[in-house]
């Protein structure tokens, strides 16, 4: 019997997959190590999709499903914006828009000792880094980078925070700079912190600027690069 060639995995890469689609057949690639990212699960010899989205592949061996949600799935080394919900003896409980609360150890600050524990009120907005994110456990967060320095992590004062989807957060943090941020940066001066969990914080000298920046970012979700620039020009013309 003629051996039917199974369609190569490249056929699903960059196309939309639906939960249940089998995207990789491991029995045909025995000598490789493959890394699976979010949205994929292994079922014996077949890798199938758990979420709907676009299958992406990055050389040499990483596969993942790119999709945009309103909730966040914690991953190690992500920078996120969290809101303090409670403080315990050893940890602060932080809401990170994920399935479980994040724990921020009380000593996870630069030069943090038992004597200088920061006092955060409930509702404080913090810029944090995810240290551990295991399934079933509460993610562990930190206000320092990997070498122990503060590096801009910590509470964000003043400004305005709004929620977006995770897809838009990733677009804002992509390099080269997202068109909407570039277009805004040419005319306005503002400070921005983007959390990969779908939260964005903006601060500027005047409230008008903050509102324009926030609206521009929220509108830019479904627009292409050129459309974003046109939209920003339109918004800026109206305020000047």
């Amino acid at each position: 019997m003629e051996n039917k060639q199974s369609s190569s995995p490249a056929s699903f890469v960059d196309s939309t997959v639906v939960p249940g689609d089998v995207v990789l057949d491991l029995s045909s690639m025995t000598s490789q190590t493959i890394k699976l990212g979010g949205g994929l699960r292994q079922d014996c010899d077949a890798i199938s999709a758990m979420k709907a989205g676009t299958l992406r592949f990055s050389k040499p061996n990483k596969y993942w499903i790119e999709s945009s949600q309103k909730r966040y799935v914690p991953c190690v080394e992500d920078t996120i914006l969290g809101i303090v919900v409670d403080s315990k003896a050893d940890n602060f409980l932080i809401d990170i828009k994920g399935p479980a609360m994040g724990f921020l150890p009380v000593l996870a600050f630069e030069g943090g000792t038992r004597r200088n524990i920061p006092k955060f009120e409930v509702g404080t907005l913090l810029y944090l880094r995810v240290v551990k994110a295991n399934s079933g456990m509460n993610p562990e967060l930190s206000c320092t980078d990997a070498s122990g320095k503060a590096a801009e992590f910590g509470p964000l004062k003043d400004g305005y925070m709004f929620e977006t989807s995770t897809g838009l957060s990733r677009k804002l943090l992509s390099s080269p700079t997202c068109p909407v941020l570039e277009a805004l940066g040419k005319k306005l001066s503002f400070e921005i912190a983007v959390g990969l969990n779908g939260r964005v914080w903006v601060n500027a000298a005047s409230p008008d600027t903050i509102v324009v920046v926030a609206n521009a970012i929220m509108n830019s979700e479904s627009l292409s690069g050129a459309q974003q620039i046109i939209m920003v020009d339109h918004l800026l013309k109206n305020i000047q």
Partner: protein, 243 residues
């Protein structure tokens, strides 16, 4: 046998389908599904930390709330909630987020026949919109056996009340695209598409009629699967999910 249906459809023809996702601003996932005049809105909140008292904390818990169009919540609504909960529990992968609760709220906007299948389809699309991990999609269809013996798909409310002797709500897994040479994953030697997730029957029908319903339902579920896939592809190219 030529079958006379009020709206001119043939025996196996479904009503026009429409589905839109991400319509509610605050819900983490939402979808509206309409089959002809029957329209259902589903919203998903979660996963949120904590499970209910009697639920297993090693798995995710699904909670369904059914809101009828008018009237108070009574036993029929509780029955729908239970059927939806069991169906969705078998479709979602519950081990990914243990000790969490996902709430699904189903609001009936208009009931013109085949209400529970529309609700199942809407809830499934809302779960996809929220990014809840799932094994495959659930595709639901209503088959009814008329008094004169023939089987029709997707009855309207008028047909349900006048013509029916018995009906069956059937939920099948969606048809799956696969790179495996022999098609989708096999469970005990049979492809996943040949399985059935839920079957709810009312009234009296013969075994042969039931199997005939299953066959017609499965054929229609392939068309529904294609519709779902096209819908997800379209909306992923122009997604608009600002929070």
């Amino acid at each position: 046998m030529e079958v006379d249906r009020e709206d001119g459809r043939s025996q196996n023809q479904l009503r026009p389908l429409a589905c839109s996702r991400n319509i509610l601003h605050r819900a983490h996932g939402s979808a509206s599904w309409s089959q002809g005049d029957t329209k259902v809105l589903a919203a998903v909140y979660g996963p949120k930390a904590g499970t209910k008292k009697n639920e297993n904390p090693e798995k995710a818990c699904i909670e369904v709330i059914w809101k009828p169009k008018t009237g108070q919540i009574g036993k029929p609504e509780k029955e729908y909630e239970m059927i939806l909960k069991r169906t969705l529990e078998s479709v979602c992968i519950l081990t990914v987020n243990p000790n969490t609760t996902t709430s699904i709220i189903v609001q009936v906007v208009n009931d013109d026949g085949a209400l529970l299948p529309s609700a199942i389809n809407a809830a499934c699309m809302a779960l996809v919109d929220a990014g809840i991990p799932m094994k495959h999609l659930a595709v639901a269809i209503c088959c009814c056996v008329a008094k004169s013996g023939y089987v029709i798909l997707d009855p309207t409310k008028l047909e349900e009340q006048q013509k029916m002797k018995a009906f069956a709500y059937l939920v099948f897994p969606n048809s799956v695209h696969s790179v495996l040479p022999e098609g989708s994953l096999r469970v005990e030697g049979e492809p996943i598409e040949n399985g059935i997730i839920t079957s709810v029957t009312h009234g009296i029908m013969s075994v042969d009629d039931y199997f005939y319903c299953l066959e017609r339902g499965r054929a229609a579920s392939v068309k529904l699967s294609d519709f779902l896939r096209r819908n997800l592809q379209q909306q992923s190219t122009d997604s608009s999910k600002a929070g």
